[in-house]
Symmetry: C2
Subunit: 159 residues, 2 copies
């Protein structure tokens, strides 16, 4: 089970957008260059975030992406679900309903403890991801890697 690499790129991209002055968009080709990422693939990830309402895109020569809402209101879970899809990792196949003379009334996805255990684990995972916001990560980056914000802002600034 593997999360796409785009999630890491998207979170760091959002952190950069949280630092960018209001009214300015971040150019995704420039962002890809800064982090040495494949530009077309990064752009696709950012488009998924637009579709999910996390980012907004601006066209034109100074175009690019910016956060669609305050960084306090964007969680890591929002980004993971936008890129990986909303379905849980475990999908109950209800194989207890495949046995000879099955109980056809039973909703095994609800009542079977295998399914319940998987659901609880998925919930615990999602809750942990929902506790961290882009604002929280941006603050932490500034404290831990103080040179990085200035470096990114300088590199990504609209000329």
């Amino acid at each position: 089970m593997k999360m796409g690499r785009g999630v890491e790129w998207a979170v760091h991209s959002c952190v950069n957008m949280a630092w960018t002055p209001a009214g300015e968009a971040v150019n995704s080709a420039r962002l890809a260059e800064y982090y040495k990422l494949p530009a077309a693939y990064l752009n696709k990830q950012l488009q998924f975030l637009v579709r999910a309402g996390v980012l907004a895109s601006v066209s034109g020569p100074r175009g690019g992406f910016h956060l669609a809402r305050r960084p306090e209101n964007i969680t890591v879970l929002d980004i993971v679900l936008a890129l990986e899809g909303p379905e849980p990792a475990f999908r109950c196949g209800a194989i207890l309903g495949n046995v000879p003379e099955p109980d056809l009334q039973e909703n095994f996805a609800r009542t079977c403890l295998v399914s319940q255990t998987m659901r609880q684990a998925e919930l615990a995972w999602r809750q942990a991801l929902a506790r961290q916001t882009i604002a929280g990560i941006a603050d932490s980056m500034e404290r831990r890697f103080p040179a990085d914000k200035l470096k990114a802002l300088t590199y990504l600034a609209v000329e």
Copy 2:
């Protein structure tokens, strides 16, 4: 991000083996037939569980699989890790180390809050899966679907 369907099959297979009288092995072709699953694929999953020390296999005409340890000591996490691999879903690509003039001393997988958040979420998920054992699921099945244990034991019994 999607978990293989084999996890569900493997957990139910282990529950059946928890019910099987000591000294008897469960035939995997018969198990596949009982749950209407692809026999070769189920067998492969059970082989992975043997490799992980969850099951033991017995060859010969009355051969098959049985639990390698007590069902109290087999957790859902053991089965998930055996089939899905031990790597966490998120793998830090340390893209903060790709920027111009990066801090080469920094271990971003440890110090970057993106990576830390993903690690905490993975841990919460694993802890939830580690709390549920095959014994716990077998008990729950007996209570909730009382006819199923007898049906399975009859169907899977060595003739």
